[in-house]
């Protein structure tokens, strides 16, 4: 499966189905609970990470939560 991940082409081994959660795992993304994902331009709700499947040609962006406090 050919995807574009954070602007770069990424070839992911073909699977019967691959969810967003599965993709983050495939990409060895650390701290996935703190990642926001955009799929083909739409920001995904975290609750849908397991049920939303990625497909050949999809464009995925992910980035980390940025915040802090008690400074």
């Amino acid at each position: 499966m050919n995807l574009t991940v954070n602007g770069k082409k990424a070839a992911i081994a073909d699977k019967e189905s691959l969810s967003i959660s599965g993709l983050l795992d495939e990409l060895n993304v650390a701290d996935p609970l703190y990642v926001t994902v955009e799929l083909n331009g739409d920001i995904m709700e975290r609750i849908n990470f397991d049920s939303t499947l990625v497909r050949d040609g999809d464009e995925i962006e992910f980035l980390y939560f940025m915040g802090g406090g008690r400074g």
Binding site: I43, E61, M66, G67, G68, R70
Partner: protein, 134 residues
């Protein structure tokens, strides 16, 4: 070491002063260790002691940087009343790897302090911040 042109340094401090007493935040982009772009961001917490960026703004900045062939070099935020050091919570929530974390302290309003840090394995190290003049 993080190198930053004076106009960007001054804009960051200006944003911190303009947002006082709330924390302000933003993203610095560039190449190598030389900052060339500043993106002030919305602090969605609108708080005196917390900040959180809007993911939509984050995606927009990441794409803007990419289109200019720049990288995200640092995230900055202000400490309106405390020193220029990373708090425990700042450290706990610093997930983005391989960037610098810059703090602008207004604890002494007449003499803002700006410091840069790197984080590896959840350990903080101070980083030289060189201001580029001219």
């Amino acid at each position: 070491m993080l190198q930053m042109p004076m106009p960007i340094y001054e804009r960051m401090i200006g944003q911190a002063r303009g947002g006082f007493p709330l924390e302000v935040c933003g993203i610095l982009g560039g190449k190598g260790n030389i900052v060339s772009a500043i993106y002030p961001m919305t602090n969605t917490d609108a708080s005196r002691d917390h900040f959180m960026m809007d993911p939509r703004e984050q995606f927009s900045v990441v794409k803007a940087l990419r289109s200019q062939e720049l990288e995200m070099l640092a995230v900055y935020h202000s400490h309106p009343a405390t020193p220029a050091r990373l708090s425990d919570e700042d450290l706990r929530l610093a997930f983005t790897p391989d960037i610098s974390y810059v703090i602008v302290s207004l604890a002494d309003p007449s003499a803002p302090e700006v410091r840069s840090f790197r984080i590896a394995d959840k350990k903080v190290g101070s980083e030289e911040l060189k201001i580029i003049h001219g």
